[in-house]
Amino acid sequence: MANKISQLLTSLSLVLGLALVAPLAQAQVNPTQQSVNEGALLEALGSGGNVAGRISIPDPNAGYLIKPDNKLWAALQGDTLHQISIWAVIGMVALLALFYVIRGKIRVDGGLSGRKILRFNTVERFAHWTLASTFIILALSGLNLIIGKTVILPVIGEGAFGTLSAWGKIAHNYLAWPFMVALVLVLLLWIAHNIPNRVDLEWLKQGGGLVKKGVHPPAKKFNAGQKLIFWAVIAGGAALSYTGVMLLFPAEAGTPADWQFYQTIHALTAAVLSAIIIAHIYIGSVGMEGAFDAMGTGEVDENWAKEHHSLWVEEVKGAKAAEGRTQPAE
């Protein structure tokens, strides 16, 4: 019995002893040994990583404590994208100026006939000019965000430049919508005429007759060059629209990494498309005799049409002739 009791006591004391010793042993562990450490966290981050944690305010984005990679985007936006945009525009203007000096205005070789053919009806012209006017304001207000601070701000001062840019932003935000509507309209109206075919290869082989006087490769309603412009406008316009809407509604678009991605695509697409459109405006106005009428009055001179869109003229005339045939003469 006594033996049993002493056994019990020893085991009890053992348990007690352990219970006493355990916290002491723990207390000797430095409580900060496992503490998070900024240097270690940063080193462990891969690219695109953030130091993040729990936050008691409702905005979950506020839980990101440090996002070192944001500085990479700052350098990209603040420097690289600016350079690309500026040189895309200046480069294209310089190229066109050179082209004008060498080739001059592209004339109608056969002279004007005085006879007119309808090329673009009212709906087509309405769609075109809605697209064009909104695009130009969007492009200029966008460009202002890039070079305005170096070109305009020193001239008009910070106050006036702030007001101007604020108006530019409002215009940019609101005109994006009619631009998108016009983009869809243009797509629907002209897609059938812009499917690439064999005629385009020949047109491209002959350089579109742009470089040499008197060379006029055949083309339907739109030649290969115009088809390229069409698809550039559609693809670029769609990319601009999508990324633009994301930038308008950042809360829906995601995290700052997403915003940065959309902004980069938006800026690059805008630079490339603006350069393309500058060339388009050139050839549609001062670059080629008789071209503007197509989008102005909608009617072009027959000789212009025969030189630049021979197959289309045949189509139109053929259709007219066919119409004539089915109508009995009176």
Binding site: T32, V36, L65, I66, W73, E158, G159, W259
Partner: protein, 198 residues
């Protein structure tokens, strides 16, 4: 001139959020905006740490690099401030800031953001010091009154330090040496390209 910085000694921060509240009250910060916030890393795990963070007033500030209207300026004290009259609320500074400092008071239709708001290091804006116009737009200008930022001044554990960068770095260094550990000068590498070495 001093180069003002913040340093949060996370080994002292008890996540009381008093700095957040004091800042909101001092500057009448608009609803929904927290110029300062406290983030807890490894919450609930051994060795968790809380860090109080606001604008770090970076060297070569990324926000200033991307602002399309150049409305940022750095004061003689190294504080990064901006002009709300010029700001167009484009959001770029919020994309660029590594610390999530820039915020926007309202969003209207088609994503129109209001004027950006962020920590001013309690030093107002471009308006005349301590004027009503400055107070309405940016809050109080304690630096002009000869005081330091309120968040750090009232921190009960003196975890959050504000003042000349060299001096607060020295205080932190002494603390780390005395107690034998430190989780680092949070944000310093990213904001200033250097950290406090012990």
């Amino acid at each position: 001139m001093a180069r003002m910085k913040f340093l949060c000694d996370a080994d002292r921060c008890i996540e009381c959020n008093a700095c957040v509240t004091a800042c909101k009250n001092e500057h009448e910060v608009p609803w929904g905006i927290n110029r300062r916030r406290v983030v807890t890393i490894n919450d609930g795990l051994p060795g968790e740490r809380s860090v109080s963070m606001a604008c770090m007033h970076c060297t070569d500030a990324p926000c200033a690099a991307v602002c399309p209207v150049s409305c940022f300026y750095t004061t003689d004290d190294g504080v990064v401030l901006h002009n709300k009259d010029t700001c167009i609320g484009c959001g770029y500074c919020a994309y660029a800031c590594p610390f999530g400092a820039p915020q926007y008071p309202q969003t209207a239709n088609f994503g129109t953001r209001g004027k950006m708001d962020k920590c001013t290091y309690c030093s107002g804006g471009p308006e005349p010091d301590m004027s009503q116009a400055e107070y309405v737009k940016y809050g109080s200008n304690r630096l002009a009154e000869g005081k330091l930022p309120l968040c750090a001044e009232m921190c009960s554990t003196k975890s959050l330090l504000a003042g000349d960068g060299d001096i607060i770095a020295e205080i932190y260094r002494e603390r780390v040496i005395t107690r034998g550990y430190g989780s680092g000068a949070w944000g310093w590498r990213t904001a200033y390209g250097e950290t406090v070495t012990v």
